[in-house]
């Protein structure tokens, strides 16, 4: 029972915080709410007996990536995302686009509702035993799997990130530096 309460508490925080992220006019508040959402997600991982994933979530997303976001927002120092004149005249603001967007949002909600209704029939079937989860939480086992079974995906992701980094450096270089 405490597990269930904890789950709904953390899930509630995660969902409400995520929803509030897109409702903020101040990007600083959006970042703080996103961090709160990550924190709640990490709590959910702990209730699933995956402390390593929970800590990785905090270190990588809340600790590193969001600090970078914060740095950029502070550097640009944009306290208010105000709708400027050029912003209101933006082609994406025309009613046609707005209606298309509303249609897509409607589709997304329908899809989510459909997925949730399908999932509700799966709730009763037990999730593969908790013993497996405990074995998974072992960092040694995780590392072993990562460097054997998922070797290709792991290395491909590393190369992808390296490519993105080199691209960013090339783009950031000024012309006269060459």
């Amino acid at each position: 029972m405490p597990d269930t309460i904890l789950f709904y508490l953390l899930a509630g925080v995660a969902i409400i915080a995520s929803a509030l992220v897109i409702g903020q006019r101040n990007p600083m508040y959006s970042i703080m709410l996103l961090i709160a959402s990550f924190g709640a997600l990490s709590g959910l991982y702990i209730t699933l007996d995956a402390p390593f994933v929970a800590m990785a979530q905090i270190i990588v997303y809340a600790g590193a990536i969001m600090v970078l976001f914060l740095f950029v927002v502070m550097l640009l120092n944009a306290p208010q995302e105000d709708a400027a004149e050029w912003d209101r005249a933006h082609p994406m603001r025309r009613p046609g686009f707005a209606r298309f967007g509303a249609l897509l949002a409607g589709l997304l909600i329908a899809q989510l509702a459909w997925a949730l209704m399908r999932a509700s029939s799966l709730v009763e079937t037990p999730v593969a035993g908790r013993g497996d989860a405990a074995a998974l939480s072992s960092v040694r086992a995780l590392g072993g799997v990562l460097f054997t079974d998922y070797m290709f995906a792991f290395e491909a992701t590393s190369v992808l990130i390296l490519v993105a980094m080199v691209g960013a450096v090339v783009l950031a270089r000024r012309e006269d530096d060459r």
């Binding site: 101040n26 600083m28 508040y29 703080m32 961090i35 402390p51 390593f52 800590m55 990785a56 905090i58 270190i59 809340a62 600790g63 590193a64 600090v67 970078l68 914060l70 740095f71 502070m74 550097l75 120092n77 939480s137 960092v139 040694r140």
Partner: protein
């Protein structure tokens, strides 16, 4: 009569749990430590500059921290007109909560009954989780939000510069810090701080303690340098560089809100020293004392590192900002990566 009888006299349901007691002890010890460190810092600074330091309040100025705290409590609490109301209040809270929480997974002693006061021996440490090293790292990295938000929400140029510097510095030095940690974790084969400490018990050749300091001298130096940078202490105190930024991120703060920042800094110093002791200096293992009194060794080692912290602050001048970045990215981080690769190779060589 002892604590044991008192303990037993409680109704089982009302009996304070071991973990509750431990939280109480650690919480108060950290508060006391930050007060003592303030005094120690000023006394040692005075000694190094050939003067007395605080000397008027109490014998030899020993009650100076109490006077400081009272003064801060009775100051007027100011908030600049242009400051962001919520984040300005939240920032010091984040700082100090992260500082206290980080100590939760740091073990500081073997099983002990405290000179026979307790019936059953208890393990010293609030909680022992199997990813303790990562928890300390994750929670301390949350502490930077307090500083960055304080800098931004004050709506002041100097504060903003301090916050920007804090975030850039944190990103640069966290990498080297984590890489140095990874080398120790590989040697011990565990992410649990208690298991890392227990892997360092015993002696080589009968007299050299099996501390990872001797296996990881480069890692230890990197850890300590990155640790000083992470706690924003001189020579890496850029976020509050007083000659350049008035007082940096906490320029606009006063009273208790201000007091929370230095308190968080001193508690972070204690945590950093305690983790260094656990990872590199063999934690509570040491000669002469039985294992049950190992926490005395632990306190001595932590005190030694804290003294070195203060010593460095009053000896080494502050870097220039570009030197900080150059040093972090071009020297410290590559050195940490090379150390990691060398450690991995040697482990494979000797275990195969």
């Amino acid at each position: 009569m002892g604590l044991a009888t008192l303990w037993a006299s409680f109704d089982p349901y009302l009996r304070p749990s071991v973990i509750g007691l431990m939280i109480f002890i650690v919480f108060n010890a950290l508060i006391m430590a930050s007060a003592i460190l303030v005094l120690a810092e000023r006394k040692i600074m005075g000694f190094m500059q050939q003067r007395y330091g605080p000397y008027l309040v109490g014998p030899h100025g020993m009650l100076q921290p109490i006077a400081d705290i009272l003064k801060l409590l009775f100051k007027e609490e100011l908030r600049p007109k242009g400051a962001d109301r919520w984040l300005f209040t939240l920032a010091p809270v984040i700082s100090v909560v992260a500082a206290f929480t980080a100590f939760a997974t740091v073990p500081f002693g073997a099983e002990t009954t405290f000179f026979g006061l307790l019936d059953e021996p208890i393990k010293l440490g609030v909680s022992d989780v199997n990813v303790g090293v990562l928890v300390v790292f994750a929670v301390t990295s949350m502490g930077v939000y307090g500083i960055v938000l304080a800098g931004w929400s004050s709506n002041s140029k100097y504060s903003l510069m301090g916050g920007l510097r804090a975030s850039a510095q944190m990103i640069s030095y966290e990498l080297a810090y984590a890489t140095a940690l990874a080398s120790v974790v590989m040697l011990a084969g565990s992410l649990s701080l208690r298991e890392v400490v227990d892997a360092q018990s015993g002696y080589w050749l009968g007299f050299i303690p099996r501390w990872y300091l001797f296996l990881q001298p480069v890692g230890f130096i990197i850890y300590v340098i990155a640790g000083v940078a992470e706690t924003n202490r001189a020579p890496f105190d850029f976020p509050e560089a007083e000659q350049e930024l008035v007082a940096g991120y906490n320029t606009e703060y006063s009273s208790v809100r201000f007091a929370l920042f230095p308190q968080a800094e001193y508690i972070n110093m204690v945590t950093m020293s305690a983790v260094a002791t656990d990872l590199y200096l063999g934690g509570w293992h040491g000669p002469f004392l039985p294992p049950a009194y190992g926490w005395i060794w632990f306190l001595l080692k932590v005190g030694l590192i804290l003294f070195a912290y203060i010593w460095v602050r009053w000896t080494v001048p502050r870097y220039r900002y570009d030197q900080l970045m150059q040093f972090g990215w071009k020297w410290l981080f590559p050195a940490a990566v090379l150390n990691l690769i060398a450690t991995a190779a040697l482990i494979l060589y000797f275990n195969a």
